[in-house]
């Protein structure tokens, strides 16, 4: 019942996800945090898309008069939405970084905290 080698797709996703998570929490540079968030995000996309894959399946575009197995189209739809929403949040985050740079003169987290303390 439990098929360990068949779970490798989830483990790749988890390694990528944790790499992104590490960048977000361990690095002080705000631009790098956004890149880390993007890695995290893409790993979630890969999670959904690999779940939708059917062994021996093909892309869910109808072939007339042929008996084909299609991969599950539903995760594809959800992830299309997620990619576009993701770029929206990325753009908003980068705009905030530009404003922070103007207000504090730096995009390093610890320097920002130091300025807040001294102010």
């Amino acid at each position: 019942m439990m098929d360990i080698p068949g779970l490798y797709n989830y483990w790749i996703v988890i390694v990528l996800m944790m790499t992104g998570f590490y960048v977000v929490i361990a690095r002080g540079n705000l631009v790098k945090k956004i890149v880390g968030l993007n890695i995290f995000q893409t790993s979630v996309f890969i999670l959904y898309i690999t779940m939708g894959k059917v062994e021996g399946g093909t892309a869910p575009i109808v072939v007339e008069g042929a008996d084909v197995i299609y991969s599950n189209p539903l995760p594809h739809v959800l992830i299309l939405t997620a990619i576009v929403v993701g770029i929206a949040t990325t753009a908003l985050g980068l705009a905030l970084i530009v404003r922070i740079k103007e207000a504090y003169g730096t995009v390093e987290e610890d320097e920002i905290f130091a300025k807040d303390e001294s102010a």
Binding site: G6, T19, A26, V35, M51, V77, L92, R99
Partner: protein, 163 residues
């Protein structure tokens, strides 16, 4: 690739690597039958996101403060712990490519059988996106619109103050 993003101090290289990472994941999506997703990821993740990040770097400087290349213990511990928990959570999951997985049993077969006839669009992803889940897509547009307004307000406030 992702490890390189963690280690490098030069943010320009980091952004380039993240663009390449997006392209690689786009080709991965093609091999996983998700061609529509691959198009979107290549253009949005590899293209627009990279351009936006480069624009940000032009405004904020492209080197990270050096001397932080070493691994930090506490975040590393948190990450390893979370990863171990997640791997434990996957042990019950259906294996890769299994046609009997629960995800393939619910509405997906109905979409595959009826969507081409009901909507007349051969691409099932498009028909689900635009017809069955049209409200989702409209909500997505609302999100983009809100984000656009947010960016304009955040960056526009600066221009007004400069004048």
């Amino acid at each position: 690739m992702a490890i390189g993003i963690v280690r490098l101090d030069n943010l320009f290289a980091v952004v380039m690597l993240s663009g390449i990472y997006s392209l690689i994941s786009a080709s991965l999506f093609v091999t996983l039958d998700a061609v529509d997703v691959a198009f979107t990821e290549a253009s949005v993740g590899g293209g627009i996101a990279t351009v936006l990040m480069l624009a940000t770097l032009a405004l904020t400087g492209d080197t990270e403060k050096p001397g932080k290349g070493h691994l930090q213990i506490l975040p590393l511990a948190v990450v390893v712990l979370t990863g171990a928990l997640l791997i434990y959570g996957t042990l019950d999951m259906p294996s890769f490519g299994d046609p009997m997985a629960p995800i393939h049993q619910h509405v997906a077969p109905r979409y595959i059988e009826e969507a081409p006839r009901a909507t007349g669009i051969p691409n099932i992803v498009t028909s689900v996106l635009a017809s069955y889940r049209g409200y989702d897509t409209m909500g997505e547009l609302t999100v983009i619109f809100t984000a656009g307004i947010g960016v304009i307000l955040i960056l526009g406030a600066r221009r007004r103050r400069d004048d």
